[in-house]
Symmetry: C2
Subunit: 631 residues, 2 copies
Amino acid sequence: MQFHHHGYLSTEPREKPAAGIGLDRPDELPDTMDVMIVGSGPAGMTTAATLSSYPDVHTRLIERRDGRLELGQADGIQARSVETFDYFGFAERIISEAYWLTEMNFWNPDEENPENIIRTSRTLDDPTGVSEFPHLIVNQARVLDYFAEFAELSPSRMKPDFGYKFVSQTIDEDHEYPIEVTLEITTGPKQGETRKVRTKYLVGSDGAHSPVRQSIGRHPIGDKSDHAWGVMDVLVETDFPDIRTKCAIQSHDGGSILLIPREGGYLVRFYVDLGAVDPNDGGAVRKTPLEEIIRHANEILHPYTIDVKNVAWWSIYEVGHRVTDKFDDVDDGKENEKNPRIFVTGDACHTHSAKAGQGMNVSIQDGFNLGWKIGQVLSGYSDPSLLHTYSGERQEVAQNLIDFDKEWSSLMAAKPEELPSKDYVAEFYLKTFEFPAGFMTEYKPSELTTDTVHQDLAKGYEIGKRFKSAKVSRVSDTNPLHLGHLHEADGRWRIYVFGDQHAPADSKNKANVFGEWLGNDANSPVVKYTRKNTDVNSLFDVKVIYQQPKEDVELMQTPRIYRPIVGRYRVSDVNNVFAVLTDDNIFEAREISGDGAIVVVRPDGYISTVQPLDATDAIAEFFDGIFTAQN
Amino acid sequence: MQFHHHGYLSTEPREKPAAGIGLDRPDELPDTMDVMIVGSGPAGMTTAATLSSYPDVHTRLIERRDGRLELGQADGIQARSVETFDYFGFAERIISEAYWLTEMNFWNPDEENPENIIRTSRTLDDPTGVSEFPHLIVNQARVLDYFAEFAELSPSRMKPDFGYKFVSQTIDEDHEYPIEVTLEITTGPKQGETRKVRTKYLVGSDGAHSPVRQSIGRHPIGDKSDHAWGVMDVLVETDFPDIRTKCAIQSHDGGSILLIPREGGYLVRFYVDLGAVDPNDGGAVRKTPLEEIIRHANEILHPYTIDVKNVAWWSIYEVGHRVTDKFDDVDDGKENEKNPRIFVTGDACHTHSAKAGQGMNVSIQDGFNLGWKIGQVLSGYSDPSLLHTYSGERQEVAQNLIDFDKEWSSLMAAKPEELPSKDYVAEFYLKTFEFPAGFMTEYKPSELTTDTVHQDLAKGYEIGKRFKSAKVSRVSDTNPLHLGHLHEADGRWRIYVFGDQHAPADSKNKANVFGEWLGNDANSPVVKYTRKNTDVNSLFDVKVIYQQPKEDVELMQTPRIYRPIVGRYRVSDVNNVFAVLTDDNIFEAREISGDGAIVVVRPDGYISTVQPLDATDAIAEFFDGIFTAQN
């Protein structure tokens, strides 16, 4: 966290100086805005929080409830989401209050006494250390609270507009604010009245039945019928020893429970499988009483019992595996004719079982992906055609999720005798864990992601995948720290310059040569696209990592681009120069070539390209494909 | 963090359910109260935060300013303080915003060109890993903010009373509220008026000139004259490469600077030595202008320069090494005749240079030490004679601090030729670092600290010193975690029961035998002193640690005292049973005997005793010496 460069601030450093719309943001929903987001769930809230870092963009988030979410719904937080929370500055706080998932246990019928369940395996949740962050379980209300706090402390001072429901929209491209949105007021004295407002972009984060999605004629495609679970968040007295460990429990007659311990040390969530829903069911399954779910849970847990002392929340959860045909309002094949105006994200795009704990996580990445793209377009840095990449990138991720979850949930619903072996489910879990942890996303080549010609220069930074952090030594203050944890959700691009074998103080070190180019050449993206009236690091966060130990680096002799002069008082930011830790070498950990490399990372943490240190033309060309002329 | 056992809470889990005075706490300062604390600095705020966990005690903290502290003053946070912040639940947050001190560098005159300084050594700040927490630098205003937040979210819902100044006090032991305090109102329409209120106890945390201390006739004893420094918090442009590393800088003509980088990546504090103050100085040194301090700093830094761009705060800091003769109102030797009513803490007890970064830290421990003792007495658990131990324990710590700081600051002020070798200061720093890190405090035997007859059973838990955390495996959720991080500042005593070599499921395991005694025997402190209408873990937090791996532990067969039934819904807290981590064994790390041991830890984290697992009589006797009869 860096601050005080505009002068000393005594209070909460997480509160950024107000700017742009944040200087005079209307409390009430205005008649016109740049972006309207519908729905304050994980997808909508992440888009809002991401856009809050673009104070030149006036974003509003509407929610039909009259206040924050209180309980229920999603609770699984994969490590990729915790990495994302770290970008937003609240990882350490939510980690401290959440349940940490270390192991998952599998229970199956005892072969000798099939009416009894026994623990058949224990599996480590992250056996390979794919992330330095834990896998968490916490109510989504808390996740939303932290995103809301980030947005409110952002330069935009953004807050949700509660009490509005999306009704319909029409588009007139000749208007400055092309989309006219009709809203219904859901609370207060004007309840039931409608209101019309105008916006440049509209984002539907409005759930599985998404009215925004319906308004653009997109459809969820997939399962014909739903599957049902009884879900309950409860306090219980029990003799079941794994009540605080995540478990998949399968009984001899095919009943199954997914048991998810929750934050705080007492609460636990049960997903009790109620089977496939007959299309002619007519809503009967939704009438399953709580007592029936508890009774069924006790049957499955035999010989153990639960005595339910308090029910915090319960529901019948009924859903099929479906992916929306496209995530924006431009039909397939028409991308060259027009640019998108309306998007759908989160559950509006993908629905599936809760078994793999994926929904909230994929929704957060939808929101993050879309947020920075809209921010960059509306701030005037990129052409609106960039927005095609949202559906282009995220629809494939959603399809992969649905495929994975289908396999996973059918495995969990299978009777023991239907499986190849009794450890089959545990083995599948182990083999595929990188997917549910959120790290399989790999964007295909596009204007945002190059080919992999130079991938060998940094094998540990896979182009199209997320930038995996590793430890470095910061020269200025000698701190060992995680390079990736310096990435903030501030809309900036990251350019990591890994030096070659020349001494750091040698002007021939290619990181120094590249740094001089990046800071001074007319073709450098930093020179070309950073606006004259802003700090030199306002668009690109440039960091150099030398392959030598810190004692070999002469901080004050490094190229100026690595020590940008910033802020009201024009002082140097000397915190961007790094060296290797001798006992934990990032060049080894991420297989970076001795000849060095340049790694470019998007605002949402995905790697756009890996290039050699002398590839100034390739770097210039890459950014020319994304940014529009400035200055 | 544990919560939800009274039912599901959707909001901030750090907010505890209100109780006692917190249910109906008067907003305005009332006419009578149990405890009045004077001054909202680190000592006073820590006492207040500690007492806020005792909702049966009505504590008020008065402050003559009209609001929170904004800037200036202390900034060094030793690792022991960060451990303490962890008890109060804000370590991870303050760590994320503070400066982390990893190395300290020493600069001295270049022997070949004495007018130039050169870096002569780099020293690791914590070479031995004395704590898992870092050494931090952050403005004390932030520390106070976090303590204030803790107090406000506590069961007592405590807030400071701003705008009152202590004037005088008188004591009448026959009155229910024996101390009458005269206050002056310092802000608002009644400014300048006086007001009289009554309290049972009075705590003077009112600084070096402490009017409370003066009112009980105590005196600071020590240096006849003061030493002066020019202190400035500044933003600078500089070519000095260690501007973001803590440095002791000594120039050839005897000038010296202590350079402390500050939170946020830009701000830096300079302590420029202005020498001993002539007793006949008449305040002249205090008139040293800022320009003179900057000029002097530039002289010392030659050949480097600083260009000061912004001054956040500056001051002339003038102080001598002094310790107050006693920290309460009972004269030496009169302890059997009366119990203390009035205490002094923090700067009111000890003054010294800022060079070792100690002041705020020792003050925090003063406040923590006193807070739980008053809380325990006023809650009716201990006799008021317990309060003698505050001065008894903390005065020696203060004396040690003064002795250390005297040596350290005279070394730092010495000219190079006056020292035995050029690395002498760096070597002294390394040799003694455990002191400034806050870990040398070792309380002498008293009713709170036993002899060391059984110390060999757990050599790593030194009786009288702080409980040093180590990692364990929690059986319930398989989480590897730091045992010490589960210690909350909730006023509870900790009883750690380390098992012997019998299998955990074997009823002969002495940890199980002891657990049965602790949970059921009439002589057990838990049975004797826990009030009937409260949870069984409300006074004693009992944890068992088996020396076997978690797979060997049958959670639901452990003695009930390790799985207390708690809260409104009477559910088991199954989170108190631990096993060793096979790759990081606490029995090895803390040298715990294979025969096991009992380790008793006070509410402020210091070890009271180490006993064998069969020493039920010794455990009973120890607590009988502290607690009074209940039920």
